[in-house]
Symmetry: C2
Amino acid sequence: MAVNRILKLNSRDRETLVNSTLLSQLSVGTLAQMLEITAIASYEPRDVLFREGEPAENFYCVLSGYVRLYKLSKEGREADIEVYGPGDIIGASAVFTQDRYFANAQVSERATLARFDIHKVADLAAEEADLASALIGILSQHLQTALECSANDRLHTAPQRVAHYILQNCDGGGSNTSFRLPYQKSLLAGKLGLAPEALSRAFSMLREFGVSVRGRIIQIEDVDALRNVCADR
Amino acid sequence: MAVNRILKLNSRDRETLVNSTLLSQLSVGTLAQMLEITAIASYEPRDVLFREGEPAENFYCVLSGYVRLYKLSKEGREADIEVYGPGDIIGASAVFTQDRYFANAQVSERATLARFDIHKVADLAAEEADLASALIGILSQHLQTALECSANDRLHTAPQRVAHYILQNCDGGGSNTSFRLPYQKSLLAGKLGLAPEALSRAFSMLREFGVSVRGRIIQIEDVDALRNVCADR
DNA sequence: CGGTAGATTGAGCCCAATCAATACCGGTGG
DNA sequence: CCACCGGTATTGATTGGGCTCAATCTACCG
């Protein structure tokens, strides 16, 4: 598994890494130490980073591409838990628990990742308080996101969840705005806890609220109208 | 709100506090410092500890009783996120983010709680590495639980979730075993992401798999049969 | 003995999963 | 440049799980 190539860190990836949610919080000293123990590698779609139950050895920072975290049911169906993109940290909780991975992680688009040995990082975190702080920050953030997501699932219908996602991703923007989905719709569907068909239907339902979808481009006519969708329907 | 009485720490509560997921990880020195800044108070059912969006000031350790964490939809419907019992920590993520609460917390049964000022704890954590470690541990644990819960919702039907809950709570036990629900069924329903009616129906469906429910007592005839429910139905 | 809150049961409905078929898109190779 | 192909997306028909509403039942307390 994971037949990946080891790489040198190019300047764009380096920038992403240094600005990631974890490394951007560090002092120059700690940052340098982290960079020293970083291994960079590229992955092909469908590569598996780790599987549930395996002893945890590494955690990752996404430099480019996307990785999805998911769990399997006993019958083999899978449920996506989270999708990570550039700058995101995967498996940070393993740094402390130092136990086993509790989910599966798979690359969805060609990706470049930075890999860290959790034991080395744990040792470093014991010495450098800023690293420990940064890790707590990541975990707090992820925890909040996860709980948010649970509540979202339980409270909102498919069109509401999609509307919410769109609003989060068209960053402000005037009344008429648009953006490009960073990944496949099937991946988005999983992230939102939907079957791909349900996502399609949600999009077409949102057409009457001024949302048009062509390929990966999402156009929003009236942002305020969308906000109401979240409340009403 | 929260018209609660300030109390002295009695010996049973003290034991619970010292054995809690947070304090049990600390050195004697740090433990003593934490105990110094602890305020103990008792709460009545329906008391609200905090609301979503309020500036975060405290986090809590449950000494007795139960507290549910939930979010509200814009129409006012509520979705439970988590239920905390004796020894559990509530709002730990606020220690680091030091921002606002991201959910609501309400007491469900008469409860005694230990309250900590997040700023004091944050300061202490900056000095004492064992406290920082313990906080990371709590967060990792909570994160795992939350993600587990999301996946559970998406993968399993109501009877499966209930079977899973029962199995987790009849700790080993021979083929024929029983236990008592620690709180109301409506609270359990919320925790499992179900309407109370759905929980009822799940219980009656599980009757044919050897589960009998009388009041809060759950009797399981055949633990292995239950394990299969999780996979099949 | 009423009273109240929780739990159960039934009926109807709605949302989203599933299955199946078709349309679309992006690449590859002629 | 176009024809083809495989993976992705859409659309339709059906099913089923769980929510909602409403009525009954139970248990606990005054």
